[in-house]
Symmetry: C2
């Protein structure tokens, strides 16, 4: 699916959490990204604003991006409630008028905007709404045995703490270690990276567990499936999605993602971020009680902690001690420590399992 991508960030190029989709595309599909379109950041070095190396140029318009070869625009920001941000509309409209492919992960449909729909209709621009297909998802989970791949799910004590990045880096690390591992995307950014998956937070409630179960069944022929986690079981807004994914994907192992130093829950200034140890206890007593899934490791997002490395190290050691599993910062150090625990757990399960149950 190689293409020539311009990423729209609509004024958020300097906010790596809001522009997390842009960050992921630049990190993991860099060869295909020709530019970021964000007029307020023209001439700035994105690598100084976002946790990326080798940043693409910033241009002022979709027109300029096309002179660099862009054939597609990707909406590079995540918004509360998945609304199409008004500040992105001019660029989206311009791209539609020029017949570019437009890829969006918003709950709002691109074509729901009459101007965009009309422009795309005239130019034959392809409008790709990654979350739209989720409404057609009508699988009811069986809860029955899945077999095949060892399943790992990333969980987090908040939104935007690194569940997608950890799952992606872990998958890459497992593959580099010679293991047949697959990344199972459950969100729009993961889908933009992998070209597959299901936007689980856009699935209707009754079919949420089923969408997760169907997703892992489709990956059962691999040795290891790494499922991208969503939100947090203790986030007030989106925890139904987290629970459905935990129940439906029937993970064998969990990687807990957290960002030490975060001042409050994402988008909820009055709510504290739960201690990862508390989250682990809640998950163990609920989803763990059901499926027997085990915590295998902790993924530390060191973004905020790098200013105070002693404190970050102390928190990491506390989590390793209290949770009894290794921790690592997959961006700073690579996923090696997590690759090892996942490989060991997958091997242990394969050894335990009767041959008849083999994939």
């Amino acid at each position: 699916m190689a293409e020539r991508i311009a990423i729209l960030t609509g004024g958020k190029a300097g906010e790596p959490v809001a522009a997390k989709t842009a960050v992921a595309l630049i990190r993991y599909r860099r060869d295909e990204v020709v530019a970021v379109v964000d007029p307020g950041f023209v001439g700035r070095d994105l690598a100084a604003l976002m946790p990326v190396l080798n940043a693409p140029p910033v241009v002022a318009s979709v027109e300029e991006a096309t002179t660099l070869g862009a054939t597609a625009v990707y909406l590079g920001v995540a918004t509360a409630g998945g609304k199409l941000p008004p500040e992105l509309k001019p660029a989206v409209l311009d791209a539609a008028a020029r017949g570019l492919r437009i890829v969006s992960g918003m709950h709002d449909r691109l074509g729901a905007d009459a101007d965009v729909a009309a422009a795309a209709s005239r130019s034959q621009a392809e409008l790709v709404d990654l979350r739209a297909e989720a409404l057609a998802e009508r699988t009811v989970a069986t809860g029955g045995p899945i077999g095949g791949a060892f399943r790992v799910l990333t969980i987090g004590n908040d939104c935007s703490v690194g569940k997608m990045v950890t799952a992606w880096e872990l998958t890459r690390g497992l593959i580099e270690a010679g293991i047949d591992a697959a990344f199972a995307a459950t969100g729009q950014t993961g889908m933009m990276l992998s070209g597959g998956g299901v936007p689980i937070d856009a699935v209707v409630g009754d079919f949420l567990n089923g969408a997760a179960e169907a997703l892992v069944r489709r990956h059962a022929h691999h040795q290891v499936t790494v499922v991208e986690g969503q939100a947090s079981l203790l986030h007030p807004s989106y925890s139904a999605v987290t629970w459905g994914l935990l129940a439906g994907s029937q993970p064998h192992g969990l990687i807990l993602c957290c960002e030490p130093g975060r001042p409050h829950l994402h988008g909820r200034p009055s709510l504290a971020v739960p201690d990862p140890v508390r989250l682990a206890a809640v998950v163990r007593a609920s989803a763990g009680e059901q499926s027997g899934c085990e915590l295998l490791g902790v993924a530390i997002n060191g973004r905020r902690g790098r200013d105070d490395p002693d404190r970050l190290r102390a928190e990491r050691e506390r989590l390793e001690r209290e949770l009894g599993v290794p921790a690592c910062d997959v961006v700073a150090e690579g996923p090696g420590a997590l690759v090892e625990v996942v490989r060991a757990a997958a091997d242990a399960r394969a050894a335990d399992r009767p041959a008849a149950d083999a994939p």
Copy 2:
């Protein structure tokens, strides 16, 4: 919303669990029900087939129901995945051709069937899809304080164990005891009874917690809100809905519903029904850990137990002992015992609460 209702049961009039919507309409909107349409059951006494008193007549066709005055047909069965059962189509089509109001709680839209849509268009029949509006639900839960009413949620260790009936009977009992209580419907049957509510299992994942929070905010001006529970936290298929409702409605108290003697999970012959004591522990360690909600009572569905009353009594005593709360069978005995514990808990909270927090 008084109307003249014919209930369609499509061959399921003898199956009270499948026809649970019919049972609820006959129990709680009996004055408006003129007939049940189910050709295979003409002349049978429904009271011998379903747990209802004063059953309406069974007729063979929608045409006959109209001779009894029917102006509306209600789909009286619940199906896995909310699919429109093919055996109901002839009657639905007939009703559409006759211009009757048709009320459905299926995930499948009535108008998605081209024949039904065409017939309704010709006759101007009103097609009411209770679950359809849920897709427009786009509230993101805040997790912030709600205030006002004391909130009670019914939970269950399986689907179809009596969460709706318990919530309805409890609300009625509270009102009879002079308390300003309101029933907050979360499913199609509850909506058919109350004329309001939200079909929470049809809401998109990201907005599930939000739909529950918005529902209880709309009822905050009452003294007590009784929220109809959905599915079970330990049911493999639909537990995302249960979790979203538990988190979003921020209940103060829970009533645990169960049906002793049930051989396996609803629709899942290979899966055992979880012990209610186990469910209570999981809920306490997860949703309870978050919100501090407390188990107030147990609602025993005695349907299967009445053949062996000693065993039913022993199970009831065990649950009371192990859970430390009173149990009652709201259908056999009325909701008195639950009314008392809810009233006491609501009073205790009102006494604790600073005046500034009063509604």
